[in-house]
């Protein structure tokens, strides 16, 4: 038995912390004792985690493998790519469209989702709240096709509004009318698609934030109330800070869906060339481009579509990295 020992905390599978204090010669690490039950269980969880990595690696590999044809074509003969000007000029309008629609969806949905979550957890009558939450959960189940049909109906009703927008706010490029002074006759614009997307991601964001708001420790809420905080101040002091990282996660989940949603956008959007204005027809998202062209695609075209899928994958990666960096920066040190 060693004369002196030193152990580190954290779980059996946790990485040992580097020796943080200078005690040369004193510490000799004994083998961590792990019970069979713990070993099996932690191994199971680890395997599950690694399985996810494998799946993701599989998806990435699949995308890469299928993209080689496009990459080759891009190098040998860029004009063979759809649009005739090479892959990048084909894909960048799609990237912009995707980012814009997801950003709008997120900007619209997040405040509403927080509103719903707050309302159902802290404002609604106690008996009513679970029912409301339940109804909103249901919306996650409505298939994209139905959202698509609904969105088409919505689009028709939005044309008047878009006309109005372009009349009064046309000086803002995103609300500008086209050269004939007209907006989309059908209302099937990127703005409409984004609004429908925002409704689609609403239940996903709401569900998680609601669960988190519900978990705010009573002690925290009481601390604020006892200082004479109004309900809103209590929410700002206790509930929102407590839920911060959860809100970020929920938003990321919503973003994932907004980025990847295919069918509803494909049905609603009247795609076209990239335009700054969101009230005329035009623009296209990656997911919708894939959905619309996949059935008839073969050979190089199929590879192109999968390559833009890869691009979307990378976008998701970058957006998530960015979001994480922001969350890490803004969250309070420590705690």
């Amino acid at each position: 038995m060693p004369t002196s020992t030193q152990t580190t905390a954290s779980g059996p599978a946790g990485e040992p912390e580097p020796d943080s204090h200078p005690e040369p010669g004193k510490g000799q690490k004994p083998k961590a004792v792990v019970r069979p039950g713990d070993r099996i269980f932690s191994a199971a969880t680890l395997i599950a985690g690694i399985l996810i990595l494998l799946i993701l690696a599989g998806v990435a590999l699949f995308l890469l493998a299928q993209s080689t044809e496009t990459i080759k074509a891009q190098m040998d003969d860029p004009s063979s790519i759809t649009g005739g000007k090479g892959f990048f000029s084909y894909v960048w309008p799609l990237i912009i469209g995707t980012l814009i629609s997801s950003a709008i969806a997120l900007l619209v949905a997040t405040p509403f989702a927080l509103g719903i979550a707050l309302f159902t957890t802290h404002m609604a009558p106690r008996k009513l709240a679970p029912v409301l939450g339940y109804v909103i959960d249901l919306l996650a189940a409505i298939p994209s096709v139905v959202y698509g049909l609904w969105g088409i109906a919505l689009a028709g009703n939005l044309t008047a509004f878009y006309l109005w927008l372009s009349k009064w706010f046309g000086w803002i490029p995103i609300f500008a009318a086209d050269e004939n002074g007209a907006v989309s006759q059908t209302g099937r614009t990127l703005l409409t698609a984004s609004l429908v997307l925002s409704i689609m991601i609403l239940p996903i964001i709401t569900s998680l934030t609601r669960e988190i708001f519900l978990q705010t420790p009573r002690l925290q809420e009481e601390a604020a109330l006892a200082l004479g905080a109004t309900r809103w101040e209590m929410i700002r002091m206790s509930v929102l800070p407590f839920g911060k990282s959860g809100i970020a996660s929920a938003t990321m989940l919503g973003l994932g869906r907004a980025l990847g949603e295919t069918m509803a956008v494909a049905m609603i959007l009247s795609p076209g060339l990239l335009t700054a204005s969101l009230v005329v027809s035009g623009n296209q998202t990656i997911a919708s481009e894939i959905a619309q062209n996949f059935p008839e695609a073969a050979g190089l075209r199929l590879s192109e579509l999968i390559t833009i899928g890869l691009v979307l994958f990378v976008i998701t990666l970058l957006v998530n990295m960015g979001a994480r960096a922001i969350v890490a920066k803004t969250s309070v040190k420590g705690s």
Partner: protein, 371 residues
Amino acid sequence: MTTSRNLTSKQLPQATPWVIAVASIIVAIVIGFLIFGGFNIPVVAVLAGLINMVAVFALSASYEGRRKATDRVATTVVTSAFVLACVPLISLLWLTVSKGGAAINGDLLSRTMLGMKGILDQQYVAGEATLAGGFYHAIVGTVLITIAACVISIPIGVLTAIYLVEYAGKNRLGKAITFLVDVMTGIPSIVAGLFAFALFSTIANLVMPEAAGIAKTGFTAAVALSVLMIPIVVRNTEEILRLVPMDLREASYALGVPKWKTIVKIVLPTSVSGILSGITIAIARVIGETAPIMVTAGFAKNLNWNLFSGWMSTLPTYIYDSQLRPVSPGEAAIASSERAWAAALVLVALVMFLNLLARVIAKVLAPKTGR
């Protein structure tokens, strides 16, 4: 010590918010007429909302003070956000329920599309026959594929979340998984489908190179759905597990309970309601998927109980197909549309049932905080 504060500060009468709301709407309509020369619902709504906000704040701030006013505005904003969000949501549900409710009948639930052709729909539309066809096969497909997807994703998802929360600490693998799970949420559903199909085609080619088209099965679809479902399960579960107070784990450790048992018997039951709700939302998310099912499970018109061989239909693919590619195009497409809405209603009801079930389970297992 500063000035003395009054207990019974001035308070607006209870009905004030409602009065202001109604007044705002009237003013908005008037302004709408004066400036824009017409009645436009969105304009009036936006205008009314803004006027209401300003009025509530102004009135409350001058009478009750700034903080109370902020509280009132916040309450108004949150409540209106809720109400406003409910409008599309209710409209969607209503659309489904009214259209589906009008069309649904027992025959649709018990028949398949086998033998279905356009002429039958034309006869129905002409009033010469009853609505033919049905989607029993799609209900079965949905249930089987969803169950299979759950069987794959829930253990992987929950275990991964446990790994992240209980074991990974701040190690690199944990961080990598957390990050990549986020990335995974952004995989477009069709890509998930293509991936699963490519995977199983490769496997099928290795195992049975002779057989044509055996890669398209319900199970392949379940795998595709799992790719979409796992990240949602992980993310939700992870967040919920992190909320379990350390106190409880310590209490258990101090009793000499091994870590894994602490997790299984203390941590999971404490958070079961949240986990189940996360799983339900994940199921709801994938149960409505169309694109990945079509590329992985094919498109069946007949009943197939076998997940591992043969094509399958699910309710969303059925709805998609009926709506976008009616059995009889043109005038009689309405018949396909009716079947589609009935199927949509069934799908929503299915999720509603699942949701209820999850809530009942959660209630039984959840922390008992009632005094």
